[in-house]
Symmetry: C2
Subunit: 336 residues, 2 copies
C-alpha cells in the first residue's frame, strides 16, 4: 500500500509530518510518498535525525496558503504540496492521500483533481467523534455549509458504509441531527431528508437531538456542514474547557494534588477515549479515491494514525462499496 | 411585583412549581399568581404541606398538551394554564409570566396573546449558558428554526440589552456564531448578518466559532434557532456525559473513592458553576412583557430562580430599553 502525504500541511509541518510518516513506515505495512519542497524536507529530516529510508519524495515548490481562495489550488497554487499530492493520487501513483492543510482547498482539490464518485452530489467530511461508550461519524462537518436533502441522504449512506467497513460497527444506526425527535420537527431540509432517509438502504433511526450525540445516540450523525462544524468545534471546546476546570479543582492545594495523583491512571484512560488523534483524520467521503484530512494541529501520532486509516480505507474497499450502494439504489428506483 | 406562574408546566408540575413558588414568596419581594386546576393545586399543596398563603390562584381547566400543535394554545387549549396565564399578563394583571410547559406553545402564545414589541420581527429564546470564567446569552436557541438576517440583528441587540441589564455585563461582546472567524465565512444568512451587525448599536466582535463559546468567547452568541438548539442540547449532553465518565473514574475502587472525597468540595463548586438552574429560565426576548420559559425538567429551586429572574426583568426595565434601542435605530436610519 502506498500512501501519499502532504509534508507541508498543518500547523506542525513538516517536522511532525515526517516523524509520523517515519512511525507509519516502521510500524505499518505501508510505503510513504512525501510531497513538498525536497530540500526543505531533507534538511528538516537531517536536523532532527529522522531517516527518510524507504520514503519517496515528489517535489512541490509551493505550500497552499491557508488564507487563499480554495479554488486557487488549481491555479495560483497548482504546484503546492497539496495539489501535487492530489494529482499523484488521481494518476494512480498511490492508493490514498493525507493532508493537514487548508480544509477549503482540500475539499475543492479533492473534488476537482481526484474527482467525486459518479452520482455523488457533494463530498462530505466525516470525522469520528468519541462518545460515552462509543463513537460516531459526523457527516458533514464542514465541507458544505449549505445542503440539499439528496446530499444529506448520500451522507447517511456513505457514513454508514464507512462505519461498518472501517470501525466495524454492524448495521450502523443513522440519525438525522434535528431539534426534536418527532418527524414533524425542523426546517424544510430536515423534513424532506427525513422522508428520503426512510427509503434509503441504511438503518435509519430517525431524528437525533444533539444532547444524545455524546451519549452514543447514533453511529452516523447526518447534518449540513454548518451544523456539523458547530458540533465538532463545540465538542472540542467544551471538552477542553471542562477538563481545564477539573484540573483547576485537582491543582487547588497539596491535599487535592495528592488525591489527583491517585486518580491519574483513570483520568489518563478517560482522556485517551476523548483523544481525536486516536482516530487519525476525517475521511472526505464521496471522492473516488481515499483522501484523509488530518486535523490542522496534528502531531506525529495523529499523522501516523491518519496514514493507517488511509491504508485501511484503501484496503477495505470502502469506495467500491459506496459505488455499489449507489448502483443498487438506481436499480431499485430509490433516489439518492 | 406580581409574577404569574403556570402551575401545570413541566415534567415536575405541579409539586415542584408549588414548592418553588413558596420559596419565592418567602424569600423574594414578590407575590405569586398560580394558574391551573384550582382543586388539584390545593390538593397537591395540602398533601405536601405547602402553604399557599399570600398566593392567588386563577383557575384553568386544561393543561397544554406537549404533543399538540402549538397554535392550538389559542383554540383547543385556550383554557390551559399556560394560555390563561398569558391572558392575565396581557391584561395587566401581573408583571411577568413563567412557565415550564411546551416551548412551541409558549412561543406561539407569547407572540400572539401577549404580543411582540412593535418593530420586532420574531421573539427569540435566550438562555444563559455557563462558560469557563463567564456566561453567555444564546439567542435564538430554538424559537425560530429558520431566520433572516434582520431577525438575527435584532437578536443581537436584544441579547446585548439583556446581558447588560440583568447579568450586569458592561458593553457585552456580541458574536455571530459561524464556521470561521473571517467575515467571508458561512452561508448567505451569516454574510448578510455580519454586514448588518457591524452597523447595529452593539459591541459586535465579529464571528465566533463554536469552540470559543465554552471559553468565554463572547457575552451574546447570535445564531438561528436550529443552530442554537444544537448548541444548547450538545452543551447539556456533553457536560453530563463527561461528568458521568469522570464519576466512573472516581468510583473505580476504594482508593479512588477516598481520593474523590478530598476533591468533593471543589467538584461541587465546579458543578454549581455549570448548573442551569442557577440562572432560572430562558427569557423569550422580543415580547412586550416579560415571559420566562423555565426548563421542562425544572425543580423547585429552578422555579424559584425563574420567578426571581422574571421579577428582575420587569424591575430593571429590559423591555422599555429594547423599545428605546429600536426607536433610536429608526431615527438614525439604521435598519433592524
Amino acid at each position: 500500500m502506498k500512501i501519499i502525504v502532504d509534508a507541508f500541511g498543518g500547523d506542525n509541518a513538516p517536522l511532525e509530518v515526517l516523524k509520523g510518516c517515519r512511525m507509519a513506515a516502521d510500524e505499518l505495512q505501508v510505503s510513504v510518498v512525501l510531497t513538498g519542497d525536497e530540500a526543505a524536507i531533507r534538511k528538516c529530516a537531517g536536523e532532527n535525525g529522522i531517516s527518510l529510508d524507504g520514503m519517496e519524495i515528489v517535489h512541490a515548490s509551493q505550500v497552499m496558503d491557508m488564507e487563499a481562495d480554495p479554488t486557487e489550488i488549481r491555479t495560483a497554487y497548482r504546484d503546492s504540496s497539496m495539489a501535487v499530492g492530489m494529482r499523484l493520487l488521481a494518476d494512480g501513483q498511490g492508493d490514498a492521500f493525507v493532508s493537514a492543510g487548508s480544509t477549503g482547498a482540500f475539499v475543492v482539490g479533492a473534488s476537482t483533481i481526484v474527482r467525486r464518485i459518479k452520482g455523488i452530489k457533494r463530498a462530505a467530511l466525516a470525522p469520528i467523534i468519541p462518545s460515552a461508550g462509543g463513537k460516531f461519524a459526523l457527516v458533514d462537518c464542514g465541507a458544505n455549509v449549505e445542503c440539499r436533502p439528496e446530499m444529506l441522504v448520500q451522507f447517511g449512506i456513505m457514513g454508514s458504509i464507512y462505519m461498518e467497513k472501517i470501525l466495524g460497527v454492524k448495521n450502523p444506526r443513522v440519525g438525522l441531527v434535528n431539534v426534536g425527535v418527532e418527524e414533524t420537527k425542523g426546517d424544510e431540509l430536515r423534513l424532506e431528508t427525513y422522508r428520503r432517509l426512510q427509503l434509503a438502504p441504511v438503518n435509519f433511526i430517525g431524528n437525533v437531538e444533539a444532547r444524545e450525540l455524546p451519549k452514543n445516540g447514533c453511529d452516523v450523525a447526518v447534518c449540513d456542514g454548518f451544523t456539523g462544524n458547530v458540533i465538532l468545534k463545540l465538542t472540542e471546546g467544551l471538552s477542553s474547557a471542562l477538563i481545564g476546570q477539573i484540573k483547576g479543582v485537582f491543582y487547588k492545594n497539596i491535599g487535592t494534588k495528592l488525591a489527583a495523583l491517585c486518580l491519574k491512571k483513570g483520568m489518563m484512560e478517560f482522556k485517551k477515549t476523548m483523544d481525536y488523534t486516536e482516530y487519525g483524520g476525517s475521511m472526505l467521503i464521496g471522492i473516488s479515491k481515499p483522501v484523509i484530512k488530518a486535523h490542522g494541529s496534528s502531531n506525529a501520532k495523529a499523522f501516523k494514525n491518519a496514514v493507517r486509516q488511509a491504508a485501511r480505507i484503501a484496503g477495505e474497499g470502502v469506495i467500491p462499496e459506496i459505488e455499489k450502494a449507489l448502483a443498487q439504489m438506481k436499480e431499485t428506483g430509490g433516489e439518492a
